[in-house]
């Protein structure tokens, strides 16, 4: 549905987007994740034809954004970071205008009513946009993107400025829209991306640093697949059992976490799953296994580890795992 090839954007000598290539398939919800200034908005502005790229091509629905701009643009609904609203118009006038601007051929009344119902802006329909709250403005901006029912939706930080209830509403809405639309969504809120998106692209300093599903990312970047085990009983004895367990490469005791209960970090030998043997071995010796969890990195940790390099070195606090 969307093909991006070797996309590069220079502002003078500053490289805002550096040789990005990716594609988005039909019906996919792609999350665009990155710290502020990573090049998310620039990329989205190029995808939608607002900016032109310095190099590279963007193809939307089979139409090159520079060669056939009108065909490509009519396949996209775009909600920029700041919704492009004419404050001196009422919601009705504004949506009417966008309807005309996009040369929509649907039944105007029905189509707009449907969108307003979806965005829950019916009751502000006749109010001036400048008198609306940030949340409502955001919804009107969203409504504008939906006009014409474009197959591709590009949403730049769609939940910014909304209250928690509205955020949940919008996320549900995006998920529902994702059933019939291809959606690209940018955000620096990790939970949002994790909750909504099928696939995640992490972008930093204009470059793609990761491109996968949340689960796969977590798998890939958990450099050590350590297990944390809580076991009640004598520390020395248990360490001894664990060390001699088949498939365990290394054991580190993290100390007493509860009365008589110690926590151990177990490093497996390549790809060995020793959870069953661990359980049997401990049961045989009569030491109860109170907890076992894998140390997979959360998306947040992956994000930080992937995007932190560029920042000035933070003094490392030797934080122990709780």
């Amino acid at each position: 549905m969307i093909q991006v090839q070797n996309l590069t954007k220079r502002y003078g000598s500053h490289l805002a987007v550096d040789n990005l290539s990716f594609q988005v398939n039909e019906g996919e919800i792609l999350g665009f994740l990155g710290p502020n200034g990573a090049g998310k908005s620039t990329t989205m502005n190029i995808l939608t034809g607002y900016l032109s790229s310095s190099e590279g091509t963007v193809t939307i629905n089979g139409h090159d954004i520079l060669e056939e701009p009108n065909e490509a643009k009519s396949s996209i609904g775009y909600l920029p970071e700041q919704p492009p609203l004419y404050l001196d118009m009422t919601v009705r006038e504004y949506l009417d205008f966008v309807f005309d601007l996009k040369k929509c051929t649907f039944n105007r009344k029905k189509h707009l009513a449907e969108i307003c119902r979806l965005m829950k802006i019916e009751h502000v329909y006749n109010r001036l946009i400048k008198n609306l709250s940030k949340g409502y403005r955001q919804r009107v901006g969203f409504a504008q993107a939906l006009i014409g029912n474009p197959p591709v939706l590009v949403l730049d930080e769609p939940t910014v400025g909304l209250d928690p209830n509205q955020i949940i509403e919008i996320r549900t809405l995006i998920k529902n829209l994702g059933k019939h639309h291809t959606v690209i969504l940018s955000s620096h809120i990790l939970q949002e991306i994790e909750a909504v998106c099928d696939r995640i692209i992490i972008i930093n300093d204009g470059k793609i640093v990761a491109d996968d599903t949340a689960a796969a990312l977590s798998e890939k970047y958990s450099s050590d697949r350590r297990l944390m085990a809580r076991i009640a009983g004598d520390e020395k004895r248990i360490t001894d059992i664990l060390t001699h367990l088949n498939g365990v490469a290394d054991v580190v005791c993290y100390g007493e976490k509860e009365e008589g209960v110690f926590e151990y970090a177990l490093e497996p030998q390549d790809g060995v799953d020793f959870r069953r043997t661990l359980f049997t071995a401990l049961a045989k010796e009569g030491y109860p296994l109170l907890g076992l969890r894998s140390m997979e990195m959360s998306l947040e940790e992956i994000f930080i580890s992937l995007t932190r390099e560029q920042l000035p070195a933070v003094t490392h606090k030797g934080g122990k795992s709780k």
């Binding site: 643009k73 492009p84 005309d100």
Partner: protein, 236 residues
């Protein structure tokens, strides 16, 4: 184009600009019409036209065009325009014609004056139409210039000031040409660019092809430049 045109034209009347501009034109030209024609029983409308000319160029047209492009950039609504399936030319022309239409409604008061005169005596229709067409063509050209200037800034005030200076320069070309009369080149350039000599042909009822073509092509040139500037901004 029609969506942009409709919106821009409507916006003149959701903000005070449209009313102020029309009130200024009607008030001032009405005053001159009363003084020159009604009070002194004179049938020639040319005086009214020439009296309001510099007022229109220096004040009305800058105010009319200042918001056109700059406000879209300031409010970021250009993101809606430029990502919609509309060409840049369509956007620019929509805005241009909205301003031209308002300007035409403004100066149409002159035709009303002409009909008032016509109730008493047959006016010199050719001179009146010449004046009207000349003013419309000159106004359209300055609107195109104003559109270009409005495209270069986010500030309405700077846009208005820029268009004012451009209009001022157009009014001054003749005297600058006279000042530099020793240089043949300068005189030639000044003669070519001279608005007043071409405009004066219209005011005497002389509608010549080359004058019409001059104004129309200048207008087209500035509209073209506006489109280029808009396009250029996407590449930087």
């Amino acid at each position: 184009m029609s969506a942009v045109f409709k919106r821009e034209f409507k916006t003149y009347f959701t903000s005070p600009i449209g009313y102020i501009v029309l009130a200024m034109i009607y008030g001032l030209s009405g005053y001159y019409f009363f003084m020159y024609n009604l009070a002194s029983g004179y049938a020639d409308l040319s005086y009214v036209f020439s009296s309001v000319l510099s007022f229109l160029m220096l004040l009305v047209l800058p105010v009319l065009t200042m918001r056109l492009m700059s406000d879209d950039k300031r409010q970021k609504t250009d993101q809606a325009l430029l990502t919609a399936p509309v060409s840049l030319t369509g956007i620019v022309l929509g805005k241009f014609f909205a301003a031209v239409l308002l300007f035409t409604i403004g100066i149409a008061i002159m035709l009303v004056f002409a009909f008032i005169i016509a109730t008493q005596v047959t006016p010199a229709w050719l001179v009146i139409f010449g004046n009207f067409i000349g003013l419309l063509l000159l106004g359209s050209m300055i609107i195109a210039i104003g559109l270009l200037i409005s495209c270069l800034t986010e500030s309405q005030f700077v846009a208005a000031l820029g268009t004012f200076l451009a209009s001022f320069a157009l009014l001054m070309i003749d005297s600058v040409g006279e000042l530099l009369s020793s240089s043949k080149l300068a005189t030639t350039i000044a003669d070519f660019l001279s608005i007043s000599s071409r405009y004066n042909n219209f005011t005497s009822g002389l509608m010549q092809y080359d004058d019409i073509i001059f104004f129309v092509s200048m207008t087209a040139l500035f509209l073209f430049l506006t489109v280029r500037v808009l396009d250029r901004k996407r590449w930087n």
